[in-house]
Amino acid sequence: MAQLTQASVVEQRFASTRSSGTSRFVFVMLAPSVVIIAFVVVFPLIYSFYLSFTSYTLLKPVPAWNNFANYQRLLQDPIFGQAFINTLLFMFVTVNAAFLMGLFLSQAVARTIRGQSLLRTLLMVPMMFAPVMVGFQFRWFFNDQVGLVNNVLTSLGLLNGSIPWLVDRWLAMFSIGAATVWMNTPVVAIILLAGTLSISPELYEAADVDGANSWQKFRAITYPLLGPFITIALTILSLDVARGYDIVSIMTGGGPAHRTELLWTYVPRVAIQESKFGLGAAMSFVTVIVTVAFTLYLFRQLLKSRIL
C-alpha cells in the first residue's frame, strides 16, 4: 500500500509539470486507437442496435421500424431461451474447468526442475491451433463411427457398439466443452506459472522449517500470492471462451435439433439462414450484454489493482 501511494505521488508531480501542449500529445496518442475501435466495433453495434428495432430482412432490405416486436418475439422463443441457458452453463463450466486444469499444470510444471523449459514449450502448443481446426479435429475425435475416442474405447474392450458423442445433448455439450477447455488451458497455465515462479523461495523455505506439507504451502502461500495473476488469467479466459464460436459451429452447429444451441450458433441461424436480420440483431444484442456483463464483473476486480 505504501508503494501505491508513493507511485501516485510521483505520477502527480510528473503530471503537474506539464503545459497545454500535453493535452494535444494525449489526444494524438489516443485518437488512432479510438477511431479504429469506433469504426469497427462501436459504429456497427449502434447500427445493429437500430436494426434490432426494425423488420430488416435479406428479401426486404429496407429497415421498417417495428418498435419492440423483435424483442417480444425473442422472449417468446423457447429455443432462444434454451440457447441462453446453454450459453451461461457452457461459459461457467468451461471457464472453471480450464482454470482448474491450468492451475494444476502450472503448479506441476513449476515444481519440476529438469526439463521445465521443454514442458513450457509443449504447454503452448494448443495456442497455435486455429480454433476452426480444433473444431474439425475434435469433431473427428468424437465422431461415433470413425472417431478416435470410440475407437480407442472399443479396442480397450471398454465399449461395445458406439457412444453418440455429438448426438446426445449432454454428451455433445461435454464434447464441445472438452475442445474449448483443451484450447484455452495453456494461456491460464502460462500466466499462473509465471506468477508462481515470481514468488520468493524464502517463503517456502520458512514454511518447510515450520513443517508445512505441500497442500498447506499451496493454500497459505501460493494461492493468495497468485491473486492478481488469477484475475488476469480469468479475464483473458472469459474473453476467449465467449468468442468460442468456431469450435461449436463446426462440431455441432448447435444441432442436432437445437440440442447444443448456444447464442453464437443461434444468432447466425436466425439472421443468415432465416434471413431475419432485425430479429438476429436483437438476439445478438442480448448476447453482447451477457458477455460484456460477464467480462465487466472480472474487469472490475482487475481495475482495483490498477493505479488510476
Binding site: M29, L30, L45, S48, M124, T154, G195, P228, F229, I272
Partner: protein, 291 residues
C-alpha cells in the same frame, strides 16, 4: 529418513502425472501431423493406428497445385499469402497504435480516463457474432459508395483485425509502462526532450518485451481468425487460410488427410513467430500484475 524417501516417491509420481497430462494434451496436435502423412487407409482405421506405418506426402499435393482422389488442387499459395499479409500488417498497426495509447494511459491524467479505458477493454468482449453481420452491411455500403473497397479485400480484414487487437495491446502496454520508473522520463524532459522523444527514445526501448508479448497475441488472433473472415471474404482475392480449410469439406465427406496437411503447414508460421518472441511472453503478460 523414511519421511523424505516417501516424499521423493510422491514427487516422482507427480512428475509422471504431469508428463501424462501434457502428452494427453499434445495428442490432438500430434494426431494432426500424423494424419497429414498417413496412407489414406490408416486415417479412419479400426483399431486406430497411432504412429503412421508408412509415410507419404501425398496429402500435401492439393496445396501445391496437384489433385488427389479426395480433393482437387487448392489455391493454397493465395490463402497463405493473404493470411500472411493480413496478419503481419494488422499486428504491426495494432501494436503501434496500442502502444501509443497504452503509454498515455499509464503516464498521463486526463478527463474520463477510467471510463475510456474500461470502454476500450469492453469493446474486446463484444463477440464476433454481434459484429460480423453489421460490419458486412456497413462495409458493403462503403464499397458501393466509393473507391474504398472493404468487402473481399485484404484491406477490410486488416482494418477489422487491427481494431480487434488494439484493446488487448493497450492493456498489456499500460501495465508495462507502469513498471518503468517515471524518473527516467522526468530526467529526459529536463534535458529538453519533447513528450514524443521521451516516449520513443526513453520508454519504448524499455518496453520491448511487452511489444513482443502483444505481437504474439495479435498475430495468433489474426492468423487463426475465422468468423469475421468467413463473412467478409468471398474469393481468392482475400480468403485466408482458416477459411480455405473448408475447401476440404464436401457436402457429406471431409478429406481429413488433406485438411490435416494444410493445418500442419498453417501451424509453421505460428510456431516460428511464437518461438521468436516467446522469451518475452510470460514477462510481458504478467509485468503489470505485480506491484
Amino acid at each position: 529418513m523414511r519421511y523424505s524417501s516417501r516424499r521423493r516417491l510422491s514427487s516422482a509420481l507427480l512428475d509422471l502425472l504431469v508428463w501424462v497430462v501434457l502428452i494427453a494434451m499434445l495428442v490432438p496436435a500430434l494426431w494432426l501431423v500424423f494424419t497429414s502423412v498417413r496412407n489414406p487407409v490408416e486415417v479412419n482405421a479400426k483399431p486406430p493406428v497411432w504412429v503412421p506405418r508408412q509415410l507419404t506426402l501425398d496429402g500435401f499435393k492439393p496445396l501445391f497445385g496437384q489433385s488427389t482422389e479426395a480433393t482437387g488442387a487448392i489455391p493454397f499459395d493465395r490463402y497463405f499469402f493473404n493470411s500472411t499479409l493480413v496478419a503481419l500488417f494488422s499486428t504491426v498497426i495494432a501494436v503501434a497504435l496500442g502502444t501509443m495509447a497504452g503509454y498515455v494511459f499509464a503516464r498521463y491524467r486526463f478527463r474520463s480516463k477510467n471510463a475510456l479505458f474500461l470502454g476500450i477493454m469492453l469493446s474486446r468482449a463484444v463477440p464476433g457474432i454481434a459484429l460480423s453481420l453489421p460490419l458486412f452491411l456497413l462495409f458493403a455500403r462503403i464499397s458501393q459508395a466509393g473507391p474504398l473497397k472493404l468487402i473481399d479485400t485484404q484491406l477490410g480484414l486488416i482494418i477489422v483485425y487491427t481494431a480487434v487487437n488494439v484493446p488487448f495491446t493497450i492493456w498489456l502496454m499500460d501495465g508495462f509502462f507502469r513498471e518503468i520508473p517515471t524518473e527516467l522520463s522526468e530526467a529526459a524532459q529536463l534535458d529538453g526532450c519533447t513528450e514524443w522523444q521521451t516516449f520513443v527514445r526513453v520508454n519504448l526501448p524499455l518496453a520491448l518485451p511487452g511489444l513482443a508479448a502483444s505481437a504474439i497475441f495479435a498475430f495468433l488472433a489474426a492468423w487463426n481468425e475465422f468468423q469475421i473472415a468467413g463473412v467478409l471474404t468471398r474469393t481468392v482475392n482475400s480468403k485466408t487460410a482458416p477459411v480455405g480449410l473448408f475447401d476440404f469439406t464436401g457436402q457429406f465427406t471431409i478429406d481429413w488427410r488433406g485438411m490435416a496437411a494444410m493445418a500442419t503447414v498453417m501451424m509453421i508460421p505460428a510456431i516460428a513467430f511464437v518461438f521468436m518472441v516467446q522469451r518475452n511472453l510470460v514477462r510481458g503478460l504478467t509485468f503489470g500484475a505485480v506491484k
